[in-house]
Symmetry: C2
Subunit: 220 residues, 2 copies
DNA sequence: GGTGCGACGTATCGAGCCGATACATCGGCG
DNA sequence: CGCCGATGTATCGGCTCGATACGTCGCACC
């Protein structure tokens, strides 16, 4: 329910919600949303478009996209949301389960916050925070458990990682209180800033993780 | 040359360099090295062990691993490094190309710093830093280019991401000068701390990226 | 005035990764 | 004594990535 696929689905649907687009452009815009790094490959995008199409969320559009020039039409395939797709997108945005606290997922959620109701936004931010707090705890435990048996460098890495997570928690706290101060968010048309830029934002640097804290498939 | 596979290869070889081990245990230790999150699945590990085995880097060991109890032997398969594997590991450690500046790669490299010559360590740290500086530049450009057309939340995300990267650069700078002050590193036996803990370090929290800056498969 | 190059654009293939799952044995606990 | 959870090895389907193929367009350079 929250693999890369689902994130991709949300992102594609969200972008097409803004405007019909063809694959190549989607990919560029996607880079901005997923984080400019980890932009996905065509080997992922095209099959994915086909899947979404089969499920009926998206469909090829006839309109030449740029109506002005009928002559030079290349073989581009413009996709647009279907009615079902729109509904699906709205459902995905509204229903923010624990999956949306994940690293990858969270960024994409943030990218569509303008389309998200205030209470959902808060739920996501708080969920993300609690996720990070779990990590914090696990790492601290781990650190305490074998403080002296660990390599100098590993220790440094852990320290840095721990600090980064703490900073993100603080950042989330700020976002949350900003959200709380906000009057009351209309579900779909947020007051904040103008709707997401129609033009593609290149997107930010990923602080990049420095070793995650807790997965522990392995108990102990 | 630097896909997940190669990182995995380095990590497995490195762990077996410390002591022979069987799959299950490798996986746990791997979690500590790769970053507790992103621990790899068995669907990855076992096929990978087979590949390494086919290439002759590792081999099954006969020794019961825990020689004490001959009776209760379960069907565990203990692997150990072959001579070729040892050589391969040392080659990998020595030869730190641009691939080792990557997010995933870098952590694993750090984990084996104790086995790495000082000049190589510095090369890796500086490489990592320059990689981050590239991102910094790209994101700043991007930010400058469309400062006002972007969503409030996207902007926040970028800000936070930018800051995280800057902090990591500072962290790297500290590590680099610490390395410079170090007398002169014997190639394989570093003076720093006792050799890597024989027991498994739980590993640190990944600050977690907040949107990477620059991939740009798409040239602007 | 051709020709080469880089952007745009769609698409597939092989290799590999992930999550779930299947099996099996062991130690302990009620 | 039966059940559960940890230890162990292993595979399968679905998806992803990176490389690559193929093709068009505009235009800069000589």
């Amino acid at each position: 329910m929250a693999s890369r696929s689902d994130v991709l689905e949300l992102a594609v649907l969200g972008l097409l919600h803004e405007a019909p687009m063809h694959g190549y452009e989607l990919r560029k815009r996607l880079g901005a949303v997923l984080g400019p790094f980890r932009a996905l490959s065509y080997g992922t995008l095209y099959p994915s478009l086909r899947r979404l199409s089969e499920r009926g969320w998206i469909a090829e559009s006839d309109r030449p996209d740029d109506t002005a020039r009928p002559a030079s039409r290349r073989a581009r395939i413009v996709y647009e949301l279907t009615a079902a797709g729109t509904e699906r997108f709205e459902h995905l945005v509204r229903d923010a389960g624990p999956a949306s606290w994940d690293d990858d997922s969270f960024d994409v959620r943030l990218a569509f916050f303008s389309r998200t109701a205030v209470e959902v936004r808060i739920r996501i931010l708080e969920g993300r925070r609690s996720r990070l707090e779990e990590r914090l705890e696990q790492v601290s435990n781990a650190l305490a458990r074998n403080r002296e048996r660990v390599d100098r460098y590993t220790l440094e890495l852990q320290r840095h990682g721990l600090e980064s997570v703490q900073r993100e928690v603080r950042w989330l706290n700020e976002l949350i209180s900003a959200e709380r101060d906000r009057p009351a968010g209309p579900a779909t048309a947020p007051p904040a800033t103008p709707p997401p830029a129609p033009s593609s934002p290149p997107s930010p640097p990923r602080p990049r993780p420095t070793t995650a804290p807790a997965d522990p498939t392995s108990p102990t």
